[in-house]
């Protein structure tokens, strides 16, 4: 059996872009809160539906989208803003009250699971449980002609936007005042507030950015597969966790590398090996990496995070 290497590379590349983009928000919140925000996958789904609603209007509440009210390109900024707002709301409702009372991390983790369930149910009530999609022909998903491999404009867009957002986030965290502020809050809220940082506002900002990234990822997912359900976050949720554990919890670059790596392993374990042992392969590798490097590929030392 021979394999189509260039095509599988393309498959791995753009899937990796999606994984990374999703994992970035996880990583950002982890680095600021030191906490896994398990509602991230629900925010991801919210983003996709905000985008769908923006483009299609009230129609999506009762039936499926048959006609676009607004141009398709508007869905991505709409999804980012919408998911950002949802994410901030999650912080205010699920995390902020616990943070104020110094609740243990575990309680916040459970709270985030609750928030995820709530969001998914709200989506289900509002949009129904069935798959939603954009009208046929409204998404540029016919393969680009003249290339030796099959790749669609939407896949290229997804990859470009994913890489662009990753780069922007890296600059933001490493080079800007906001980035220093977030890293300071992550290290020690008390010290940050003594330096004049409004810690609550920092949290809100971080949650907005993480939400916007989730929204972008959700919308890309929705567009690329042209299918959105309230449960669409579930399958990527575990992938995202795997990605950040592999890359190193809370590391931005780690999330990016982890995303592309997991996608590449998945694709090539199918291409070269057997598709029925794909997940076993991914988790075996994860296990090996964690045994050799417990903090993940690019994880920070414990002393840095204390």
């Amino acid at each position: 059996m021979d394999i189509n290497v260039p095509q599988q590379l393309v498959n791995a590349l753009w899937l990796g872009g999606l994984y990374s983009l999703f994992a970035l928000g996880y990583a950002l919140i982890f680095s600021v809160l030191g906490l896994l925000n398990l509602s991230h996958s629900a925010v991801f789904a919210c983003g996709a539906f905000v985008g769908l609603y923006t483009a299609c209007g009230d129609e999506v509440f009762t039936t499926t989208c048959t006609e676009l009210d607004r141009p398709i390109w508007i869905v991505i900024p709409a999804a980012m803003i919408g998911a950002g707002i949802v994410s901030v709301a999650v912080d205010r409702v699920a995390f902020w009250p616990l943070r104020k009372r110094n609740a243990p991390r575990m309680n916040q983790l459970i709270s985030s699971i609750g928030a995820a369930a709530l969001l998914v149910n709200l989506l289900q009530i509002q949009f129904g449980a069935a798959q939603q999609r954009f009208p046929f022909g409204s998404i540029p998903n016919d393969p680009v002609s003249g290339l030796p491999v099959v790749i669609t404009p939407i896949q290229i867009t997804a990859l470009v936007i994913a890489l662009g957002l990753m780069f922007a986030l890296r600059i933001l965290v490493k080079r800007t005042r906001l980035g220093r502020e977030m890293r300071t809050v992550a290290f020690n809220e008390r010290v940050a507030s003594l330096l004049g940082v409004n810690v609550d506002r920092t949290y809100m900002t971080a949650f907005f950015i993480a939400g916007a990234l989730a929204g972008a990822a959700g919308m890309m997912y929705g567009l690329a597969f042209n299918s959105m359900t309230p449960f669409m976050g579930e399958s990527v949720s575990l992938k995202g966790l795997t990605v950040i554990v592999l890359g190193g919890l809370g590391s931005i670059e780690g999330a990016v590398i982890g995303g592309f790596l997991i996608a590449a392993i998945e694709v090539f374990s199918v291409a070269l090996g057997r598709s029925d042992i794909r997940d076993a392969f991914v988790f075996l590798l994860l296990f090996v990496i964690l045994v050799v490097r417990p903090r993940g590929l690019l994880g920070q030392g414990v002393e840095d995070r204390a």
């Binding site: 394999i3 189509n4 498959n11 499926t64 393969p143 299918s227 579930e234 199918v270 291409a271």
Partner: protein
């Protein structure tokens, strides 16, 4: 050409509209034509049958058409005086919900409150496994009209109990071989790629049936790929399969995965036939698959495009009565009610034990599903259909439709 078809359809509808249900009342027309047994003489004024269908929640998408199918059949039976002058068939419906507990409760209630000749339902196989033994223990015959799981009619340790459990819905294991044989014959398949979900009972047993049927038809499987429930990206597997240039791609999947598999195969440039299992029998295939679904081939117990006279009549009457076309669930439920009525007629008794005997004896009974018999384990015997998606709807797979779809 198109206008001609439309005219014929409109005319037929108009005719049916003028004489609703009376078509069946006429001697020698419709389902009443079967005269394997004489008109009964000893039946009481009212004969009651029960029906347990999922009528609330998302399962109602199946339960509602089932209820309509039974209602339509009962109306026709009474109009036709099928159980003799002065005898009325009454159907009592109970909501069986979407899980086993709810259908047990519904079954208990039906049996406690009524003197039943038979029960039709429940909707899901899992519900049938839960509720059917209750009917059997009470000596009430139960006929499943949508249960496709293996072993349903032989589930009890006590074979006496099994004798009361029937179904008229073809298990997938019966549909798939027919699908493969017909497709191979019409499309001339030699080598195929297979992809299936390997973590779900339904898709696994579907895969096994496909693999056996392909081997029996001497079709070479050039590559087999798997996926897991909840996967959304199938491109790596499909890239592999398409790279091997197969004559067809065989898919065993539930609808949630079936649609993206079809979409992504088309996106990767594959234009050939895609053969699916029962999971593809869903309106979502058209709603979400759109153009990509064209050329998908699926086996089924019944198809709206079936040319048999009984099937055409049923489709027209049903559409007339409810303003929507029937689906496979409605057709099987409709047939089920007629089967039960026929057994009552032949037994000339409303006692469920007598009805059971008569039901088991039904052979070559003409129905919309085709010529129908029960085998010795009370499973259905009738010829399934093979459908192909064309212009956004299921049509029967024939040399012509195949040529239109794949241009040969």
């Amino acid at each position: 050409m198109k206008t001609l078809i439309r005219t014929i359809v409109v005319l037929t509808f108009a005719l049916v509209a003028v004489v609703p249900f009376q078509v069946q009342a006429q001697d020698g027309g419709g389902m009443g034509a079967w005269d394997g047994c004489p008109v009964p003489e000893n039946l009481p004024e009212e004969v009651t049958i029960g029906a347990v269908f999922g009528l609330s929640g998302n399962i109602a998408a199946y339960g509602e058409p089932q209820k309509r199918g039974v209602e339509l059949a009962v109306a026709e039976i009474n109009e036709a005086g099928y159980l003799g002058e002065g005898t009325t068939l009454i159907a009592v419906f109970e909501d069986g919900g979407s899980d086993g507990e709810a259908s047990i409760a519904a079954m208990d209630k039906l049996i406690a409150e009524n003197e039943l000749a038979a029960v039709i339902g429940p909707t899901l196989s899992a519900q049938a496994f839960a509720a059917d033994p209750i009917a059997a223990e009470n000596g009430v015959v139960v006929l499943g009209v949508s249960n496709t799981a293996a072993g349903l009619t032989t589930m009890n340790e006590d074979e006496e109990l099994d004798q009361f459990i029937f179904r008229n819905s073809l298990p997938e294991a019966n549909v798939i071989p027919n699908t493969i044989t017909k497709s191979t014959e019409i499309l001339g398949l030699e080598r195929v790629g297979v992809i299936y979900g390997n973590d779900d009972d339904f898709t696994l047993s579907g895969y096994d049936a496909f693999a056996d049927a392909l081997e029996a038809s001497e079709v070479e499987v050039v590559r087999t790929e798997t996926f897991a429930r909840g996967d959304v990206d199938f491109s790596p597997q499909l890239t592999n399969i398409i790279n091997d240039d197969p004559d067809a791609i065989v898919v065993s999947a539930l609808i949630a995965e079936a649609v993206p598999v079809v979409l992504q195969a088309r996106q990767l440039g594959y234009t050939g036939p895609i053969i699916g299992g029962n999971g593809f029998n869903s309106p979502a295939l058209f709603a979400q698959g759109g153009e990509a679904a064209e050329g998908v081939i699926v086996g089924a117990a019944w198809n709206i495009g079936s040319p048999s006279e009984l099937s055409v009549t049923f489709t027209e009457t049903f559409t007339e009565a409810y303003g929507a076309a029937p689906d496979q669930f409605a057709a099987q439920a409709y047939t089920g009610a007629w089967l039960v009525a026929t057994a009552i007629r032949c037994a000339d008794s409303a006692d469920s034990a007598d009805v059971r005997e008569a039901l088991a004896a039904i052979v070559d009974y003409p129905t919309p599903l085709g010529s129908f018999s029960f085998d010795e384990t009370r499973n259905p015997v009738h010829e399934p259909v093979v459908q192909i998606v064309q212009e956004g709807m299921f049509k029967l797979l024939t040399e012509e439709t195949a040529a239109q779809a794949f241009g040969e």
